[in-house]
């Protein structure tokens, strides 16, 4: 805690975003398939597939999550949001059978984040989606923990590639705990070192000079 001075705003995880979190801003930029339930006059240019002046009712297009969330209203439908495949029943069955076989990076990379955000949109499937998200996380916990602690003594890079963003962050916090312990074991924990920030700036300076 003391050694790294840059402490970014953490993502909210779950249904609530953190306003200032860069991770949450990137997550909420994920695109969702939607269908307009009314027309949007004078915004036709947003739909690249047509050249009309308006976006007519019934248009199918992709909008970022933040905009879908902003426009979505329970009472007066201006758009309906299609559930991405990975949260639908077919995939849920796969996840519930064995969460460890799934490549969440490919399916995501914000599998948990986006899934939680989807719960903002009314759907009868919401309880099952929420349940699958939690079960998947718990089902993958052991492998993530063990590999972040190098318990298998094997190359973990293949596994890490299949982690979703949230899991990746957890994995690296596990690894840094392990590294801190190992460097202590080797007697290096008390060595005073140069700031990594300083070293990186120096590297960059050299790169700047070299054409």
């Amino acid at each position: 805690m003391d050694t790294q001075s840059y402490l970014p705003v953490q993502p909210g995880v779950g249904m609530e975003e953190n306003f200032l979190s860069l991770d949450d801003i990137l997550l909420s930029h994920e695109r969702l398939p939607i269908r307009t339930e009314c027309s949007f006059p004078r915004l036709g240019f947003l739909d690249k597939s047509s050249d009309s002046q308006d976006i007519p009712e019934g248009t199918k297009m992709e909008l970022p999550l933040w905009l879908s969330k902003g426009l979505y209203e329970k009472k007066r439908r201006v758009l309906s949001v299609e559930l991405p495949k990975v949260y639908r029943e077919g995939w849920r069955t796969v996840f519930n059978a064995d969460p460890n076989v799934v490549d969440l990076h490919k399916m995501g990379p914000y599998y948990y984040g986006l899934g939680s955000q989807m719960l903002h949109f009314d759907s009868p499937e919401n309880p099952e989606i929420a349940q699958t998200l939690l079960q998947t996380f718990m089902g993958r916990f052991r492998r993530n923990m063990d590999s972040s602690q190098n318990a298998y003594n094997e190359d973990t890079s293949a596994l890490v590639e299949r982690l979703d963003c949230l899991e990746k962050a957890l994995f690296s916090s596990g690894q840094s705990g392990l590294n801190s312990f190992q460097s202590w074991e080797k007697g290096r924990a008390s060595q005073l070192t140069a700031s990594s920030l300083v070293l990186n700036y120096r590297k960059r300076k050299i790169n700047d000079i070299q054409p």
Partner: protein, 196 residues
């Protein structure tokens, strides 16, 4: 789509790993503000028309533009706030004087923020009692010994120790120095802590 420029700013920070401060993107900031102005004006026009001519059908588009305005506001605020967190880190890692190549990446207001932060921190540390207060940017790791062996990684001129002795820090020279005198120089990459 709207707000793409704002996303560019966010991605730029995300690409700068380990808390490094990329150059302040004044151009990007200006473009986002311009987009906001255009969105706002278009909305003003539509709002007036909706009111005057009873054109309720314009409301969804007004709302959409408003969402984009809020999104741009969020992105810019988050961009600037995250930069402050990086600039704060510089105070703790470099000390109160920043090298020119780092300062070049800050805008005038950021330089000002940094200098205020520096002052607040200094007066906090001075207020802690004793003759000179307590420098809490030191003692980052638990102490092991009063003196440590260090090697100079570059020429740094003279260093005065407590008792008045002056030592010349010449590249590759080795010294046995009071730990607390070295801590910052080690962090700055001037000295290297040699473990026995």
């Amino acid at each position: 789509m709207f707000c793409e420029k704002a996303m560019e700013l966010i991605r730029e920070l995300q690409r700068s790993s380990e808390g490094q401060l990329p150059a302040f993107n004044e151009d990007g900031l200006r473009q986002v503000l311009q987009e906001m102005e255009a969105l706002y004006e278009q909305n003003q026009t539509d709002v007036n028309e909706a009111k005057a001519d009873g054109r309720a059908d314009l409301i969804p588009s007004i709302k959409l533009r408003h969402c984009c305005l809020l999104r741009n506001q969020r992105c810019l605020t988050a961009y600037l706030y995250d930069r402050l967190l990086r600039i704060r880190a510089l105070r703790w890692e470099y000390g109160s004087v920043l090298p020119a190549n780092v300062r070049f990446h800050m805008c005038a207001e950021e330089v000002q923020w940094f200098s205020h932060y520096k002052k607040s921190l200094a007066s906090f540390m001075r207020s802690l009692g004793g003759a000179e207060g307590l420098d809490i940017t030191q003692d980052m790791k638990p102490p092991k010994s009063l003196y440590i062996q260090v090697r100079c990684l570059k020429d740094h001129g003279e260093l005065e120790i407590d008792d008045g002795t002056v030592i010349l820090l010449k590249k590759n020279s080795q010294h046995f120095l009071p730990r607390w005198k070295c801590e910052q120089l080690i962090r700055q990459g001037v000295l290297e802590h040699v473990m026995s």
